[in-house]
């Protein structure tokens, strides 16, 4: 006898995104509805299967009646919402945000193991970043290559904290965390120990797979060879929430 799944008592709302009439569950966020309906919204920190932090601000959208922009990843849909995802103003803001990410650290794509498979590079391409208008900070960040299997290059980190969340929420190890403020902010393992000396790291590699850039990579890869596989995450997240 088949098991009948209990239907959650969630209401359905209707809304309009970029002139398109849509319906969605009221517990969904704008970015989830956009993804379901193949409406492109850029994002770096948001990832299906992880909690929401709303840090990168790339998914900002315009909502009619609101006098400020809202993060699509952190805003639930509501009845009658009218959303614009790709206005000229939003394009300008997104491009500037991506440029700031490039200016802050040293993302030299041409020599990166993730070259050609990098979400930041793809975003730059999508947002039309053909050059960076603000001066580069050119601050040198360390590379931690002490782990047997993986490497972290803080020069290429965008502080999306996907690694922190996947390690905590999915793997349950909480090896990764964030230390420092402003431009000194960086992800750390354990209490800022070298990764290779971490007592908590299980070497599962989930942090490496979810990292959008070449910050977390496998050892032994050469330029352009680091291709990440993120398909595991929604499956693991669903299984975890079903427990």
């Amino acid at each position: 006898m088949p098991i009948i799944a209990t239907q959650p008592s969630v209401r359905v709302v209707t809304l309009r995104i970029d002139g398109q009439d849509l319906s969605a569950r009221e517990d969904e966020t704008i970015i989830e509805v956009c993804r379901e309906n193949k409406i492109p919204i850029p994002s770096l920190c948001w990832m299906e299967g992880l909690s929401v932090v709303g840090a990168c601000r790339l998914c900002m959208v315009e909502v009619a009646g609101q006098n400020r922009l809202l993060a699509a990843c952190a805003t639930r849909v509501a009845e009658g919402m009218e959303i614009t995802t790709n206005s000229e103003k939003l394009q300008r803001y997104r491009r500037t945000l991506v440029e700031l990410l490039f200016a802050e650290r040293n993302h030299v794509c041409s020599v990166c193991v993730s070259n050609g498979h990098c979400e930041l590079q793809w975003l730059a391409n999508t947002c039309g970043v053909d050059h960076v208008r603000m001066p580069y900070r050119n601050s040198g960040y360390a590379v931690d290559s002490t782990h047997e299997m993986f490497r972290v290059d803080h020069n290429r980190c965008v502080l999306c904290t996907r690694c922190v969340r996947v390690c905590d929420e999915i793997e349950g190890a909480h090896t990764w965390d964030v230390m420092g403020r402003g431009s000194d902010c960086q992800v750390i393992t354990d209490l800022a120990k070298p990764w290779g000396e971490s007592d908590t790291c299980t070497s599962c590699g989930k942090c490496v797979q979810v990292c959008p850039t070449g910050a977390l990579v496998k050892q032994g890869t050469s330029v352009g060879e680091m291709v990440k596989d993120q398909h595991f995450l929604p499956i693991l997240a669903r299984r975890r929430s079903a427990r």
Partner: protein, 477 residues
């Protein structure tokens, strides 16, 4: 009253440089210096990076010969891994290196130097460029462009792109060759060989016309340093270091490339950002040597391919005595011989059935803390030397670039040419063009840019000791 002539920038070379000629009261040239005016800093900013980034990082040294850096760097990384790469990977790397040699030599000969050779040293500078060559001999210009295109296309077929491919990796290459690509390359090579042989034949007939230049363009006695194969043949990828002296006697032979620090030292002068490598046992600056096509052909006993061997025998006849060919003017000749060699060798390697083997990569992690990679770039021997920590991060780099090896020789050559041609009392454009032309013989690769052919602004000033300009020549951009 001493005066200085400054040629700034030197045109039709790769990169940025200037030449200064110091004149005595009589107007004779007292001293000549070749200044590299750009600073890159690769050896310093590579520190702290993972060694696997080094091939791509150091390839950015140059846009003309990135493959040379890619290969030397990967060889240094192979050394760090302590692996022997699969034989097929070595053959594939050799093909890419020869394709690079072909395109770079074609660029040097046709695009940069043929305007001087075809149109004349004293011809109108506005026309003394590749466009002038196109106007005078369109077929030759077309052939030159075609030859370079074939070299670039082979690099693209193998590595995915013409400039800065990442196909060569520590341990081998990251993808085997398929038969379709092999056929595509083999199809292009007969045309390339025809062009190369025709150009060689043409230049051979032109050489007697340049007797005067051959006598004054860098004929000073120097040693010659290059790689040779274990059998003493022409070699561009591996082998041993051989040094011959100005009389053709072997000074060093069968020196493993990893032993280069024993024989090569690097001096620094305050007038140039380029170091001055020298042969250590003879000290600085007596340990002057030349590298590149001239040195390679002087050191090789044979090429090992039919047409190139004939051309090599004819090359040796350029020198009337039995010693090595000493004039740097004959770098041009040597380049054409090497182009023939490169095409013939690529044909041989591609026809080898084992070239399609799929085992093309050895995998390992860093097993040594020090690695040395040496190969022959188009302009001469190229050395990459890295030290890494136990985590695989670079903590020391030494790069000895082919053009650097020729630094002492280039400085002496411009002095010799200036002595022969420059009259400090009255400057002519053709006179100074010869000073630039001797530098072009070495085809120096000073950075990664080849600027507009002969169209860069050139300003030459003749000043007296008080700084008053007494004569001035200006070539507008």
């Amino acid at each position: 009253m001493s005066r200085t002539i400054c040629i700034d920038p030197v045109t039709r070379i790769e990169g940025h440089a200037r030449i200064s000629l110091q004149l005595a009261d009589s107007g004779e040239v007292e001293d000549a210096k070749f200044h590299l005016t750009q600073f890159r800093g690769f050896e310093k900013f590579c520190e702290g990076r993972p060694y696997r980034e080094m091939p791509a990082l150091t390839a950015r040294t140059c846009g003309i010969c990135p493959v040379s850096h890619l290969l030397a760097s990967n060889k240094a990384c192979d050394d760090l891994l302590a692996v022997t790469i699969p034989p097929t990977a070595e053959k594939l790397r050799r093909i890419m290196n020869l394709a690079q040699l072909l395109q770079s030599h074609a660029l040097s000969f046709f695009h940069l130097s043929s305007p001087d050779l075809l149109l004349g040293w004293d011809s109108d500078p506005a026309k003394r460029n590749i466009f002038g060559v196109m106007a005078k001999d369109p077929e030759l210009a077309k052939q030159g462009i075609k030859l370079r295109q074939i070299g670039q296309t082979i690099i693209e077929i193998l590595g995915g792109k013409k400039i800065h491919p990442t196909w060569v990796v520590p341990g081998g290459v990251n993808e085997p060759l398929d038969s379709e690509k092999r056929e595509a390359m083999l199809k292009m090579l007969p045309e390339a060989l025809t062009i190369a042989k025709d150009t060689y034949g043409l230049f051979k007939t032109m050489v007697p016309k340049f007797k005067d230049e051959a006598e004054h363009f860098g004929t000073m006695p120097t040693m010659f340093l290059s790689l040779v194969s274990p059998k003493g043949q022409l070699e561009h990828y591996d082998g041993f270091i051989r040094i011959k002296d100005a009389q053709g006697r072997i000074v060093e032979d069968r020196v493993p490339p990893s032993d280069y620090p024993r024989i090569i030292g690097e001096a620094v002068e305050d007038f140039s950002y380029m170091k001055f490598p020298y042969y250590k046992p003879m000290g600085y600056p007596n340990g002057i040597y030349r590298v590149g096509p001239l040195a390679r052909l002087n050191n090789a006993e044979s090429c090992g391919t039919p047409f190139a061997d004939v051309a090599l025998a004819e090359f040796h006849m350029l020198q009337e005595d039995s010693g090595p060919v000493r004039s740097s003017f004959h770098y041009h000749y040597a380049r054409l011989v090497e182009i023939i060699f490169a095409i013939e060798t690529m044909q041989r390697l591609l026809k080898d059935p084992s070239i399609l083997d799929t085992r093309v990569r050895s995998r390992a992690r860093g097993n040594r803390n020090e690695g040395i990679g040496v190969s022959e770039a188009p302009r001469g021997i190229l050395m990459h030397h890295y030290k890494i920590d136990d985590a695989g991060l670079i903590n020391w780099v030494d790069l000895i670039i082919a053009t650097g090896h020729n630094n002492l020789a280039m400085n002496q050559s411009i002095k010799q040419v200036a002595d022969a041609y420059v009259d400090g009392n009255k400057l002519t454009e053709g006179m100074l063009n010869r000073v630039e032309a001797v530098i072009r013989c070495y085809d120096p690769c000073l950075s990664c840019a080849s600027h507009a052919f002969g169209q860069m602004p050139l300003s030459i000033e003749l000043k007296d000791a008080s700084g008053t300009v007494i004569d001035r020549l200006v070539r507008d951009a």
